[in-house]
C-alpha cells in the first residue's frame, strides 16, 4: 500500500450485544503518521471499537481494515502490524522489565539478538532505559505506562493503539507521554489514542473523533471541529477602570443589537443576554457570530468613546467545550 492510502479504514462498523447497540455505523479513516484522538464518555464505545480493530472482538456488521488487512479475517496479520496498549497494564510479578519485554518479543517470534536490540531501542523511545533491571511489580503507575509503551513497540508495529495512556499520570508524566506520542508519529507510526484528558489530546492529535452512545458525533481536525461546533465566538474587553464596565457593556449590547442578523427578535435577545459585565474583574464578555472585520468597527467605537481599554481579545475554546457541545447535541438528537 502507498503512503497516500489511509492506514485505518472503518466503514459502517456496528456492534450489538443483544438489544444494546454499542457501536452504531461508525465510519472514519486515518492516514499514515497521523494521530487520532478518540474521545467519548465512559461506555461510549471507544474500547469496543479498539477491540474490534485489534481483532479481540467481532463486529456485528461493517468492516474495519488496518494497512489493508481485515481486522477479523486477517487477525494474525493484524496482531503483527498493530501494537495495542490496553488500559490495564498486565503486569507479571517477579519479572524484571528486560525479562518482561523479552517475553513479549519472544511471543512475537523476534529472534534473540534482534530482541536484545529492540528492548534497548523501545526503552529508549519510551524514556525508560533506566528501568531495564527494575522489577515490573515495583514500578509506579507512570513508570508502568512507559514500560507498556515499550512493550507495545517491541515488534515495531505500523499502527499503535493506546487506550487511556495518560490515565493516572501526574502532570510531568503527562507531558512526557505527549512527547513520546509525538516522537512515535515522527517515526511514521499511525496512532489511535483514547483519553479523558482532552487538552492533552488537543495538543498532539491531527484528528479527533468524538463518540457518544456508540455514534460518531464529530470527526476531523481539532480546528475543523471547533469551527463546526462553536459558531459563536466569545470575546473579552478588559478595562482599566471598574466604573467603565457598565457603560461599555451597554454600548456593546446596543451595537450587537444593530449588527447581529436582523429580523429575529429572539436572536437579538440572545445576543443581548450574551453580554456579561464583571465589575470586580473590570471586564465585559460577549458572544457573537460576527466576523473580525465587523468586530473591528466595534473596537474603533469603544476606543473613540474614551473608555480606558486595556485588552480586546477572543477567548480560545478548547476541546473540552467542543466535546461537551457535541455530547449535548448528540443527547438532544437521540431524545428527539
Amino acid at each position: 500500500m502507498t503512503d497516500q492510502q489511509p492506514v485505518v479504514v472503518i466503514e459502517n462498523l456496528t456492534k450489538r450485544y443483544g438489544d444494546f447497540v454499542a457501536l452504531d455505523s461508525l465510519s472514519m479513516q486515518v492516514d499514515k503518521g497521523q494521530i487520532l484522538g478518540f474521545i467519548g464518555p465512559n461506555g461510549a464505545g471507544k474500547t469496543t471499537t479498539i477491540r474490534i480493530l485489534v481483532g479481540l472482538s467481532k463486529a456485528t456488521s461493517g468492516r474495519a481494515t488496518i494497512a489493508g488487512c481485515d481486522c477479523l479475517t486477517d487477525s494474525r496479520k493484524i496482531k503483527r502490524i498493530v501494537g495495542y496498549m490496553p488500559d490495564d497494564f498486565g503486569k507479571y510479578n517477579n519479572m524484571r522489565v528486560s525479562e518482561y519485554l523479552d517475553f513479549f518479543g519472544a511471543a512475537y517470534a523476534i529472534g534473540r539478538r534482534d530482541r536484545v536490540r529492540r528492548i534497548d531501542e523501545t526503552l529508549e523511545i519510551a524514556g525508560a532505559t533506566h528501568m531495564k533491571d527494575l522489577f515490573v511489580d515495583a514500578l509506579s503507575r507512570g513508570m508502568q505506562q512507559r514500560v507498556a509503551i515499550a512493550r507495545t513497540l517491541i515488534h515495531d508495529p505500523q499502527m499503535i493503539i493506546l487506550d487511556e495512556p495518560a490515565n493516572g499520570l501526574d502532570p510531568q508524566a503527562r507531558i512526557d507521554m505527549r512527547e513520546i506520542l509525538l516522537r512515535l508519529a515522527e517515526l511514521g507510526k499511525t496512532l489511535i489514542v483514547t483519553s479523558h484528558i482532552l487538552p492533552e489530546l488537543a495538543r498532539v492529535c491531527d484528528l479527533v473523533a468524538m463518540i457518544t452512545k456508540g455514534k460518531l458525533r464529530a470527526f476531523g481536525t481539532v480546528d475543523d471541529i471547533m469551527r463546526d461546533i462553536k459558531q459563536r465566538r466569545t470575546f473579552e474587553v478588559l478595562l482599566l477602570d471598574g466604573q467603565s464596565v457598565e457603560p461599555v457593556a451597554t454600548q456593546i449590547r446596543k451595537w450587537l443589537d444593530q449588527k447581529e442578523p436582523t429580523g429575529l427578535e429572539s436572536k437579538n435577545a440572545e445576543a443581548t443576554q450574551a453580554v456579561t459585565a464583571d465589575s470586580a474583574q473590570t471586564l465585559v464578555r460577549f458572544e457573537t457570530s460576527l466576523t473580525d472585520n465587523q468586530l473591528s468597527e466595534l473596537l474603533n467605537q469603544l476606543v473613540a468613546s474614551d473608555h480606558a481599554i486595556a485588552q480586546f481579545r477572543e477567548l480560545a475554546t478548547d476541546l473540552e467545550d467542543a466535546f461537551l457541545s457535541v455530547a449535548g447535541a448528540g443527547a438532544q438528537g437521540d431524545a428527539t
Partner: protein, 552 residues
C-alpha cells in the same frame, strides 16, 4: 454494632459461593444420614449403627471446616489492602482491634452457620440413640468451633502478610495442611523409640496442633501416634494448643494492623552483572544459580509462555526449584535411611507407604498452587488481553502453561526417587512393585494437574480459583482415604475398593503393600479411571481456553 462485623457478615452471606456452600453442606449431611439410616425392622441396642452414622457426620464436618473455613479469612485483609479500603478503615475512628474483631467475627459467624447447617443431621444421629449428647456430640462441636477459630486467626495472619489474595489462599491452605498432617509426623517418628522424655512430651504437644487425634478420640477410633511413653490427653491438649495458637496468630495480626501493613520498599533492581568483580566472584561461590544475574533471552526452541510462567512465579525460578528438589531428595533418603538402619521398627513396606504418601501430599499441595491460576491469574491481572493480542496460538499458550506446572511437579517427584532406589537396593525383589508405584504416581500427578488446571480455568479471580481448586483436589484425594478409614465399619470391602479407584493413590499404596491396603486389587482399573478423568479435564480446559481466546 461494629460496622465491620455487619459488612463482613452481610458480604459473605450475599456471595453466591456462601449460599452454594451452605446448601451443598445441608444436602450432603442429610444424604449421609439418610443413606445410613436403619431400614431393617430390628432395633440395634448396641449403638453400633448410630456410631457409624455419627462417625460419617463427624469426619464430614471436620473435612468441611478444614476445606471451607480458611478460604474466607485468607483473603479478608489482603483484599481490603488491594482495594484501598483498609487504609480508609485504619484512617477512621475504628481501632485496629475493632477492625480485626469485626473481620474475624464475620468469618466466624459464617463458620457457625456451616456448623448449624449440620445440626438437623446431628439431631437425627442423636435420635438413633447410643450417642452421648455431651461427651460425644457436644465435644465434637466444641472441637470444630475451636478449629474454626484457629484457622480463622491463621488465615487472617497470613492475609496480613501476603501481597495478593491468591498468595493468601495458597499459603493459608499450605499452613492448614501442615497443621493437619505434618504436625502428626514428629510424634509418629518418636513413638516407641529411645527418644528422651522431653522430646516425647514436645512431639506430643505438637501432635495436638492437628484436630485429627481429638476427633478420632471422640469417634472412638483411638488416635494417631498416641501410644508413646508420655502423652497429653488429645482433647485437653488440642484445646490448649488451639487457643494458645489462636491468641498468638491474633496478636501477630493485630501488631500489623497499622502503618506496617503498607510498608513495603520497592526493589532497587540491583543486578549482579553491574557489581564489582569481587562481589561477582563472592556470589559465584554461594549460588549455583544467582537470582540477581541478568537473564539471557528466551531461546527460539523454548515456549515463551512456559519460560514466562517460571520467571513470574514466586518460587518458580531456578534457585528455588533447586532448593525444593534438594529438600525432597533429602527427605526421601532420610526416610529410607531410617528403615535401613532400623532406627524405627518400620519395615520396607511401611517406608514405601510413607514415601508414597509424602509424594501424594506434595502433589496435592503443589498441583493446585501451580495449575489453578494458569488462566485465571492472567485474566485477573490483565495479561490475558495482552496474550490474545500477540500471534501466540491458544494451543501454544495452553501447552506453555501446562508444561511449566508439569515440569515443576516432575522435578519434585524425580527428587524423591532416590528413596525408591534404596528400597530396591535393600530388597531387590521390589523392582516390579516400584515400577507399578511410579506409574500410579505418574497418573496421580496427571490427574491432579489436569483437574487443577480445568477447575481453576472456570473462575475469573485467582483467589477464588485457587480456593475452589484446593477444595476439589483435597476432596478428590481425601474422599477415598475417608472411605478407607471406615473400611471395617460402616463400609464394606467392595465399597472401599471402589472408592479407592477414584484416584491412583490407593493403587500405589496397595502395590507397595502399605499396611491396610494390601488386600485391595486396584490395578489396572485405577489407571483407566485416572486416564478417563484426566482426558475429560483436558477437554474442559481446552474448551475454556478456546472460549476465552476467540473473538466475540
Amino acid at each position: 454494632m461494629n460496622p465491620v462485623v455487619q459488612r463482613e457478615f452481610y458480604g459473605i452471606l450475599r456471595s453466591p459461593k456462601a449460599f452454594a456452600i451452605l446448601m451443598a453442606l445441608s444436602a450432603i449431611f442429610a444424604m449421609a444420614v439418610l443413606l445410613r439410616w436403619p431400614s431393617s425392622g430390628t432395633v440395634d441396642l448396641s449403638g453400633t449403627q448410630s456410631m457409624e452414622v455419627f462417625r460419617i457426620l463427624g469426619y464430614g464436618l471436620l473435612a468441611g471446616v478444614v476445606f471451607l473455613v480458611p478460604a474466607f479469612p485468607a483473603t479478608s485483609i489482603v483484599n481490603e489492602k488491594s482495594s484501598g479500603t483498609l487504609a480508609l478503615l485504619l484512617n477512621s475512628p475504628l481501632s485496629p482491634w475493632a477492625i480485626y474483631f469485626g473481620k474475624i467475627s464475620g468469618v466466624l459467624l459464617f463458620s457457625v452457620l456451616v456448623l448449624l447447617s449440620s445440626l438437623p443431621a446431628a439431631a437425627a444421629c442423636y435420635a438413633m440413640g447410643g450417642i452421648d449428647l455431651v461427651s460425644q456430640l457436644g465435644l465434637l462441636y466444641v472441637v470444630l468451633v475451636l478449629l474454626s477459630l484457629q484457622y480463622a486467626t491463621l488465615g487472617m495472619f497470613v492475609s496480613s502478610l501476603v501481597q495478593s489474595a491468591d498468595a493468601g489462599v495458597r499459603v493459608t491452605y499450605a499452613a492448614v495442611l501442615g497443621l493437619f498432617v505434618f504436625s502428626l509426623i514428629p510424634a509418629l517418628l518418636t513413638r516407641g523409640s529411645q527418644a528422651t522424655a522431653s522430646i516425647s512430651a514436645v512431639t506430643s504437644w505438637v501432635r495436638n496442633l492437628s484436630p485429627l487425634p481429638a476427633v478420632m478420640e471422640i469417634m472412638g477410633h483411638g488416635s494417631v501416634g498416641s501410644s508413646g511413653l508420655r502423652d497429653v490427653p488429645n482433647l485437653t491438649g488440642f484445646a490448649v494448643v488451639t487457643i494458645a495458637s489462636s491468641v498468638v496468630f491474633a496478636l501477630l495480626t493485630l501488631s500489623r494492623m497499622n502503618y506496617r501493613i503498607f510498608d513495603r520498599s520497592r526493589s532497587q533492581g540491583i543486578i549482579t552483572n553491574d557489581r564489582t568483580l569481587a562481589s561477582r566472584t563472592f556470589r559465584r561461590l554461594f549460588y549455583l544459580v544467582d537470582p540477581q544475574r541478568r537473564k539471557a533471552g528466551i531461546p527460539w526452541y523454548m515456549n515463551p509462555i512456559m519460560v514466562k510462567e517460571f520467571r513470574s512465579r514466586r518460587f518458580g525460578r531456578s534457585q528455588w526449584l533447586i532448593r525444593l528438589v534438594c529438600v525432597c531428595a533429602v527427605i526421601s533418603m532420610v526416610l529410607t535411611f531410617l528403615a535401613a538402619t532400623s532406627v524405627t521398627a518400620w519395615g520396607v513396606d511401611s517406608i514405601g507407604g510413607l514415601l508414597v504418601l509424602m509424594q501424594v501430599m506434595l502433589v496435592v499441595l503443589l498441583a493446585p498452587s501451580l495449575a489453578s491460576g494458569l488462566i485465571s491469574s492472567e485474566r485477573d491481572g490483565g495479561g490475558w488481553e495482552l496474550l490474545r493480542a500477540t500471534p501466540l496460538s491458544p494451543l501454544k499458550i495452553l501447552s506453555g502453561k501446562m508444561l511449566s506446572a508439569a515440569w515443576t511437579l516432575a522435578l519434585v517427584l524425580l527428587a524423591t526417587l532416590p528413596g525408591y532406589l534404596m528400597m530396591i537396593y535393600i530388597r531387590p525383589t521390589m523392582w516390579l512393585q516400584v515400577q507399578l508405584v511410579l506409574i500410579s504416581l505418574l497418573w496421580t500427578t496427571v490427574l491432579a494437574l489436569t483437574t487443577s488446571a480445568a477447575v481453576g480455568s472456570l473462575f475469573r479471580l485467582t483467589a477464588v480459583s485457587t480456593a475452589v481448586t484446593y477444595v476439589v483436589i483435597v476432596g478428590l484425594f481425601l474422599t477415598p482415604i475417608l472411605f478407607w478409614l471406615g473400611r471395617d465399619a460402616p463400609f464394606g470391602h467392595n465399597l472401599v475398593e471402589k472408592a479407592l479407584l477414584i484416584t491412583p493413590v490407593g493403587a500405589a499404596l496397595s502395590v507397595i503393600n502399605a499396611p491396610g491396603f494390601a488386600s485391595y486389587d486396584l490395578l489396572p482399573a485405577a489407571w483407566y479411571v485416572a486416564g478417563i478423568v484426566s482426558f475429560f479435564m483436558l477437554v474442559i480446559l481446552g474448551i475454556q481456553t478456546w472460549r476465552l481466546t476467540r473473538s466475540v
